[in-house]
Subunit: 351 residues, 3 copies
């Protein structure tokens, strides 16, 4: 597909600066744009990266007028660029099918209006699905689940019995919601599984990443609060209560019965032990290992996790540790000599 | 559903203390119980948490008689509570179907008595399945697998060729058993995959968590011993031999050809390198990185993992490290002054 | 199955040394071989392990002639052993079916010659599949994907829209390619998902492990270069560009927009932050946490990752840290005594 830069400017209601006749063949980010492509730069700090970019034109905000390249200014750069990318690579989507002929829906399940169920999805007994929700191919929904409106379950998601999914919640492919909690009592050398009578409750506007797992509560709910976003490969164990609007990055693991407040942020590969409480607005750095409660608003990093300020001092000292070790040895040597000298002086005095 | 506390006491053969007429509408743990709910407290140390709980009644053991709340005593608190929860929220289960019409079972597969195969499960050539085993929807069982009796494979589990699954073994949704080992020889700049002729053998009474992966052996078996319990997102690489009755928490990774004894416990996010041997009864702390063999009965923590006692000393010293650095600097300063003083004294002596 | 050792030697064109009449009933590695089995030892350093092995015979290279056990020498030990294992345990494979009757293939999809589509796989609109590619049961391929020749997608793999898969690329069970990137803008306390217009592009000869996830680019491609091998449970975030012939072990997490050169090796559980660049030929040790760019050819380890040499010094010093702390205390004490002594001498001088 080829259009002129002038056409692109018109497409996004932008102000063109430069040759409107330049043919534009695609759109990509600065790093990846090819000659003939249009890219975007949403602030002037990108000027130097833009100078070495292969793109033929760029979308910018009104206050950034780059040199040496044709540009189109718009008030909302990302929105405009999204429109252009979608023009060059229109979203491919599997034709919506209502309920596909190959889907298996229990006669006791109840689907709202405009629900889409793709091929080979399986919907169990007594499941309810709200209006407009989309269930992709290969999704397995076990008995008694309740899904809100306009939710999306991507292919091969599994919901165990009684899972509750809020409205507009997205669950990515391969995620498993409601598997058994990992709790055992050891009797006569054999590990006996605890009760598994609970379920998982995901609030509205939650997002769950691919291959993420959230285990059911022992007797009641494991909860993920409204608006919380969870990346891929995250593990949330039984009985946890995750607050609202948390951001939980990839490969985080949260052990059983732990709670978090609202607006908690966890970077990648964080681990949190069981039965701790993380306050509102806490930030936890990548790979941290949390062993205790964290008060609201704090930033914790390290293994074991401590306040960031303290950890940065430790890390700085740690980088110097081999040097400290040498200095200590030198000092020991010096002190021995001083002792000998002092002994000799004292002996002279005594003499 | 509403029943009287008196009815609840009768349901679990318990001794009621307090107003039997209280209407009970649900059951949940202390943290989550609502007014009108019954909760449980299996020992007296929970008295203070119980005091601030919203529940209207509590199940306790005979020797714990809490104040200010109606209670029902029973010999086995958890068992009684399980019965009550199941009463208020009866297990939802997809109707058992024998072999569902949409399941695909190879004509050369052999199923025992009372095997249940849910919708869209696929059972390959020459697979054998023992009596009473349940295969949930979307499970994929490749050729030559052998499953014992009363095993349960939850939705979307994948078993590669020749996987052996013991009796009463549970495999949770999304787990992948028997994928290729990650072994390569690099020839002329290209990584060539090693032989992939082996398989995975899971013993009796094993549990495998959601999205856990266990790779096949190169030529023979990767083995998980009887009674071992494995949480979600665990990775066990090719040729490993995991002993009996291990407890392996979420996100642990065990590299190729490593072996463990019996009753080994690994906390979350542990990593173990290839070709090491972990003795019977070893405990490994969360996030530890194991680089060497560990003798039986030891507790190891840290990166690299060392005996716990040693690691605790290191961690304690590490928290003090910025302070140590300051003290060292102060001491250096003092020693310089002492040297100068000593030099001056010596010069005076010499004078 | 039982054959004579003489038959086994003939099977691999090997030179027999010892009793050719020994009955051979199986083949396994030294650790696991039973009496009656044949094993292999590809170099003389295995002599002592071989001495305590239960096997009845062994395959060796011509220059290793072990004592006390019958052996068969061949030029390529692993190749010969592979042939023997395959003889005793012939590969079980689900009969190839063309397109299975239960597979769902969009009428707008286009399949090459000799494509195999197993049961219940779903192939979406406008998907193209190259000659000889095998799509296992339960695989979900969304609209617009393009697959090369002779690729293999194991059961329950999910490809989101527009995923590109190179020729001879293997994707293991449960892997999810092309889920949404984890990027949000927080507006009025709510996290709003960024644009999700991109896709994933896997080069030729790539291997993707079980349950690994690779997220789509924001506007363009997340790329994995030709020949790169990725183990299970790896997370590669949106906009990453992974170079050619990388080896990425299990449970590694790479955050958004990070790039790697060619021949990069990452051990297990490494984490790499977003927007960093890893040079050609870099090696990153297990569990390392990479916070900054790494120059070509370097080996980095630790959290935060530093050059290996530096980190080894730090780790060595760290093991000694409790001892250092004690030595410092002793030294402080000594210096105090020296100060007192010096003060006393000075006072004597002054006197």
């Amino acid at each position: 597909m080829v259009v002129s830069l002038c056409d692109v400017a018109r497409m996004v209601d932008g102000q063109l600066q430069g040759d409107g006749g330049i043919p534009i063949t695609g759109a990509d980010i600065i790093r990846d744009a090819q000659p003939g492509y249009i890219t975007f730069a949403d602030n002037a700090r990108l000027a130097s990266r833009l100078a070495s970019c292969r793109a033929s034109a760029v979308i910018t905000p009104p206050d950034f007028r780059p040199e040496g390249i044709a540009f189109v200014t718009v008030p909302n750069v990302q929105q405009a660029f999204t429109r252009i990318v979608a023009f060059f690579r229109p979203p491919q989507q599997d034709h919506r099918v209502g309920v596909a002929a190959t889907a298996v829906v229990s006669p006791t399940a109840s689907l709202g209006h405009n629900v889409v169920v793709h091929d080979n999805a399986v919907i169990g007994d007594h499941v309810t699905v709200g209006d407009g929700t989309v269930i992709h191919s290969g999704v397995q929904i076990m008995a008694g689940c309740r899904l809100g409106r306009d939710a999306v379950l991507f292919p091969n998601v599994v919901l165990y019995e009684n899972t509750v999914v809020g409205s507009r919640t997205l669950i990515h492919a391969g995620a498993v919601i409601g598997a058994y909690g990992f709790g055992y009592t050891t009797v006569a050398g054999r590990h006996q599984l605890s009760a598994q009578l609970g379920y998982v409750e995901l609030g509205d506007d939650v997002e769950i990443g691919a291959c993420t797992t959230i285990d059911r509560g022992t007797y009641g709910a494991t909860v993920v609060g409204e608006g919380t976003k969870i990346d891929n490969h995250v593990m949330i164990a039984h009985n946890c209560r995750i607050g609202r609007h948390n951001v939980i990055c990839s490969q985080v693991g949260i052990a059983g019965s732990t709670t978090t407040g609202d607006y908690v942020v966890m970077a990648g590969q964080v681990g949190i032990r069981d039965h701790v409480n993380i306050g509102d607005g806490v930030t936890i750095g990548a790979k941290a290992g949390v062993m205790n409660d964290i008060p609201p608003g704090a930033t914790y990093v390290g293994i074991p996790a401590t306040p960031e300020r303290q950890q940065l001092l430790i890390l700085a000292a740690l980088q110097k540790l081999p040097e400290l070790k040498k200095q200590l040895r030198t000092l020991q040597h010096t002190v021995v000599q001083l002792e000998q000298a002092a002994g000799s002086l004292t002996r002279q005095e005594a003499a």
